[in-house]
Symmetry: C2
Subunit: 151 residues, 2 copies
């Protein structure tokens, strides 16, 4: 079970970025974390101090950043949820990938656990439905085309 580390949306982003970079190139450099999140290098340094304090990252000045065991599992859980949300935003709502990515990162915090839990199940449901003859994403696309925008 993932513990509650009281992570802010921002810290989750850092965690996920480290996970992604680690899997891509097997190490995460401060500068690359900064680039992937669009923040300054100094902001990364600050965040690494916090993640180290929380026991989620192995941080040593002037060294690559790695995740601790806890950090890895927390990051994986975050990434899992983000992936599902992102797919809903892209495949059902039909927004662009980067927009979906950003929204997925923010969603959990701002919407809160209850909504996210339900929303994840809802997405699961929608996915199931498509397989059972009612392709919701598809129907929604049609709906969008047929009705004029007025929102």
């Amino acid at each position: 079970m993932a513990k509650n580390y009281n992570l802010s949306a921002s810290l989750e982003d850092y965690l996920e970025a480290i996970l992604n970079l680690s899997s891509e190139s097997s190490f995460a450099r401060s500068k690359d974390i900064a680039k992937s999140l669009g923040v300054s290098r100094s902001s990364v340094t600050g965040a690494m101090h916090v993640l180290k304090e929380k026991g989620l990252a192995n941080y040593k000045p002037y060294d690559y950043v790695t995740l601790t065991e806890s950090g890895r599992s927390a990051a994986a859980e975050i990434a899992r949820k983000h992936k599902i949300l992102k797919s809903f935003f892209i495949d059902v709502l039909g927004v662009e990938g980067d927009v979906a990515q950003k929204a997925a990162c923010k969603a959990e915090h701002e919407l809160g656990p209850e909504i996210i839990t339900k929303l994840l199940r809802f997405i699961e449901f929608v996915t199931q439905s498509s397989k059972n003859g009612f392709d919701l994403a598809d129907e929604f696309q049609k709906f969008c085309k047929s009705s004029k925008q007025h929102v």
Copy 2:
């Protein structure tokens, strides 16, 4: 058309609270705004200064707060979106009213305009579907009951 006043989630909450209080009791007092948002009275004072600066509220120390014409239309637009989102959270996802309310307030900012626009249309679509034989909310409820929780 509603202009972009660069309102933070927090300022939108204040705006909406003023609108609601005004319609309920025809005037908005600092203390009631504070109570309805769960913040201190001094926080309200601060927010009122900002809303006045942006031309959205008529603020005079020691007087009731009212909305300007712009403030009223901005607040109405915010309230409209919140209402739709809230209904999705409650009627489709099945969460509690207060949880839904909070999430609706946060959603727009954190998710961004594209997602919200699409999401509002999606909710509209879901509503339409229910009328046309496929009651999505209902189906989802059944789905929730039939499948075990594992999120």
